[in-house]
């Protein structure tokens, strides 16, 4: 055991830093710093820059274009990305559907889909949840019926993140009801969003933005080549994906960055007032959160190290999901408290148009603070709610 980075690791960190200094475009940095949402083109542009560098698919096997990095390199990379305040890759392609395709797909599918994901030519979204099937995903009703060389899909998916930007959707659908366990009738199918019969309807979330959607399938004909693996095995594939999703929702590096930023902000004085960090109540809360985060950072590293020696992330990924999201939400609340009254102005047009510092409402604190607090209540709900994670721990780790 050794708590320090090796010389090679330090050299790697410097390489990542130099890359970010030189290649992270200033206009995107500015948007990010001002809390302006990136549009589709912004994300794709940035992801293509990562691809050019060979760093788009951190976790993929090298043969498909992955980095082949060690656990520590991945950790360093995530930290540096967060430290530069660059967003993470949109996860649906590179982190979610790709591992399913390279693990369970056939050669043709790998050739057809993986390069476009790697190069960010195609935007994916995730079609799991349905109005009646959230936590109980296996009860899903969207049906795919075989008709010659096609499946005909009917049903409704919901909460589909950024479906309005997506080119393709990966879906869990029911291909058979005539099975002993409901999980056995589920298949994993890829659908081109331009196929006739697919419609996307926005759902506006609590903070007033358009992030999720309902996706309706009305006699959507999908070629059988788009089925991944075997018919009826989709549940198994989908579960592997969910475990990856949970590990990546820990968001340790991002939380470290935010915590440091909060500390910096609270060390500054607002128009001559005493810096908030001098308030002992606040300083203690910030410290307590930092301690939680440090524990999670090491739990995360331990899990990644186990994955590196060939263990799939198992139920332990539930620990990362639960604590990771609780810490994120704890930070959201502290940002609210730090901003005081300046968390309250609601000026949505400014987030889109951009605004200069002195024309901002208020005294220069972030006006997106409460929107983030509201929106991120989702973190304990999605990717398997935190209640469901605790059920998984109870059942599969504790054997209860």
């Amino acid at each position: 055991m050794n708590v320090n980075f090796s010389a090679d690791e330090i050299a790697f960190r410097d390489e990542v830093r130099t890359f970010l200094d030189e290649k992270y475009p200033q206009d995107l940095r500015d948007k990010q710093a001002q809390g302006i949402r990136w549009d589709r083109e912004d994300h794709l542009r940035w992801q293509k820059i990562l691809y050019e560098q060979g760093w788009a698919a951190v976790n993929w096997p090298v043969e498909y274009g992955g980095t082949g990095w060690t656990v520590i390199q991945k950790y360093i990379f995530a930290n540096e990305i967060a430290e530069a305040d660059a967003p993470d890759m949109i996860p649906f392609g590179v982190k979610m559907v790709a591992p399913v395709i390279y693990t369970y797909g056939n050669e043709e599918q790998k050739e057809r889909f993986l390069p476009d994901i790697l190069q960010s030519n195609v935007w994916w979204c995730q079609g799991y949840s349905e109005p009646g099937s959230g936590s109980d995903l296996a009860s899903l009703k969207t049906r795919a019926e075989r008709d010659g060389d096609h499946y005909v899909i009917n049903g409704t998916k919901t909460w589909t993140t950024l479906a309005q930007m997506a080119d393709w959707i990966f879906c869990l659908v029911r291909t058979s009801s005539d099975v002993a366990r409901r999980q056995e009738g589920i298949s994993f199918i890829l659908v081109d969003m331009r196929t006739p019969g697919v419609t996307v309807k926005p759902i506006i979330t609590i903070e007033g933005e358009h992030e999720v959607n309902e996706v309706h399938f009305d006699n959507v004909r999908v070629p059988v080549e788009n089925l991944i693996g075997e018919e009826g095995k989709g549940w198994t594939y989908g579960k592997v994906l969910l475990q990856h999703e949970r590990t990546s929702t820990a968001g340790v590096a991002r939380s470290k960055f935010r915590l440091n930023r909060l500390r910096r902000k609270c060390g500054e004085s607002l128009h001559g007032a005493a810096p908030l960090i001098e308030d002992r109540n606040f300083a203690r809360k910030l410290a307590a959160l930092e301690i939680d985060l440090k524990a999670l950072e090491y739990t995360d590293l331990r899990t990644l190290a186990a994955v590196a020696v060939g263990k799939a992330p198992g139920p332990e990924s539930s620990i990362l999901k639960v604590r990771g999201t609780e810490i994120q939400q704890g930070l959201d609340a502290l940002f609210m408290e730090a901003a005081g009254y300046y968390a309250l102005p609601y000026v949505p047009d400014q987030y889109v148009a951009g605004f200069v510092q002195d024309e901002r409402v208020g005294a220069g604190t972030e006006t997106r603070t409460s929107l983030t607090y509201f929106n991120n209540r989702k973190a304990s709900i999605y990717a398997g709610s935190n209640e469901i994670q605790r059920n998984i721990i109870s059942k599969h780790v504790l054997g209860l």
């Binding site: 007032a273 000026v347 607090y373 209540r377 304990s380 709610s385």
Partner: protein, 377 residues
């Protein structure tokens, strides 16, 4: 001690709660909040016609002679309905300042209009640097021939865009955080030098930043005593704190009840989610928190009504409870609704946002726990 409501109080609760149930559904609320004014003027006039705006004022001033208990009961119902009409700004804050410190002329000029709903007012209780410390007044009022010249800035001035008159605390003596040396000024909104930058707030209400540049105030604009405005300011901010806590109690209980109802109807794994013990215990905790908060509200309100010395301490206790136990109730309500809890379409999200804004208004839990400690010494 007596916890029962008087006949008048019961009638008041009945009339507001009937109004909320019959005439103020969630769609109406959203429509009212989306208007330019940030509320519905016709509804506000209705509040006046029903006598609600007159509740806390003395009969001599054209009021109904009610007190903190009546205001709290009203606000609790307003919380249930997520009411956006400016009761807090006009009646509790500005009305309170006039009621407590206004002279006969000031009252006769402004109170009638506030009570009949024809005029609006706003109290500028915060400054950009002040956070929750209402004694932190950097805005200055320099004495000149025949009056004062006010310079400075104010933030989070509720209902400013509709206000016909502002109550502006400004420093006539002492240094920035001193309690003495603060004077309250009653300044018509169309006075030259008042810059208003208004905005909606995340909870569907309205507020503004005020930029005060050489604003002229005559000697008759002084509300109460020169240098002695702090006591009035603290008193009305305490009243307002109590009022939003009562509103929060109404919000919490409503969120809790809606959540229990939802958990009985939402089916996952073939059973209502309310049958999962993990959720049952949390809803039981939510009920406990609602009851505890209501108890503290009654304590604070009864002390206030009795004019007791430790009223401020009780108000801080209540605000702390709202900011801690109440916050958990609000967060759990969203959580137990799953994805539905964070949709704009469902009222739960809007209760959550108003509740969160109330956590901040007039001081968050940390601030009030500190104040509680200080007042207990």
């Amino acid at each position: 001690m007596d916890f029962s409501l008087s006949e008048e109080q019961s009638m008041l609760v009945d009339s507001v709660s009937r109004f909320i149930d019959n005439d103020y559904d969630f769609e109406t609320r959203q429509r009212n909040a989306a208007r330019d004014e940030g509320f519905d003027p016709a509804t506000w006039r209705q509040f006046a016609d029903l006598g609600w705006a007159a509740v806390p004022f003395a009969e001599d001033d054209g009021g109904l002679g009610g007190g903190p208990i009546e205001v709290a009961l009203l606000m609790q119902q307003f919380g249930r309905g997520l009411v956006v009409e400016p009761y807090l700004a006009n009646i509790v804050l500005a009305g309170g300042a006039l009621r407590q410190a206004g002279n006969a002329e000031q009252k006769s000029e402004w109170l009638g209009g506030l009570i009949d709903g024809s005029r609006h007012a706003a109290v500028a209780f915060a400054e950009p640097q002040s956070r929750f410390d209402i004694a932190d007044v950097a805005t200055s009022a320099a004495a000149v021939d025949g009056g004062f010249v006010i310079n400075g800035s104010k933030s989070m001035v509720l209902n400013a865009r509709n206000a016909d008159v502002f109550v502006i605390p400004a420093r006539t003596g002492g240094s920035r955080n001193d309690k003495s040396g603060i004077t309250l000024f009653l300044v018509p909104a169309d006075t030259a030098g008042i810059g208003i930058r208004d905005y909606a707030t995340v909870d569907g209400h309205q507020a503004a930043e005020l930029l005060l540049t050489d604003v002229q105030a005559t000697a008759t604009a002084v509300l109460g005593n020169i240098d002695g405005g702090f006591d009035t300011l603290r008193s009305i901010v305490d009243d307002a704190t109590l009022a939003v806590c009562a509103e929060a109690v109404g919000i919490m209980s409503t969120m809790h009840e809606k959540t229990v109802e939802y958990s009985k109807n939402r089916v996952q794994f073939g059973v209502p989610i309310g049958s999962f013990q993990a959720l049952q215990h949390r809803m039981a905790d939510n009920l406990i928190a609602c009851e505890q908060s209501y108890s503290l509200m009654l304590w604070a309100v009864m002390l206030k009504a009795a004019g007791a010395d430790d009223t401020s301490r009780a108000i801080s206790a209540l605000k702390y409870q709202i900011g801690t136990a109440g916050r958990r109730v609000a967060q759990e309500a969203v959580q137990i609704h799953g994805g539905m809890g964070i949709t704009w379409e469902l009222d739960i999200a809007h209760y959550f946002k108003r509740f969160s804004a109330i956590e901040t208004l007039f001081g968050n839990a940390d601030f009030h726990l500190d104040r509680y400690v200080a007042l207990s010494a």
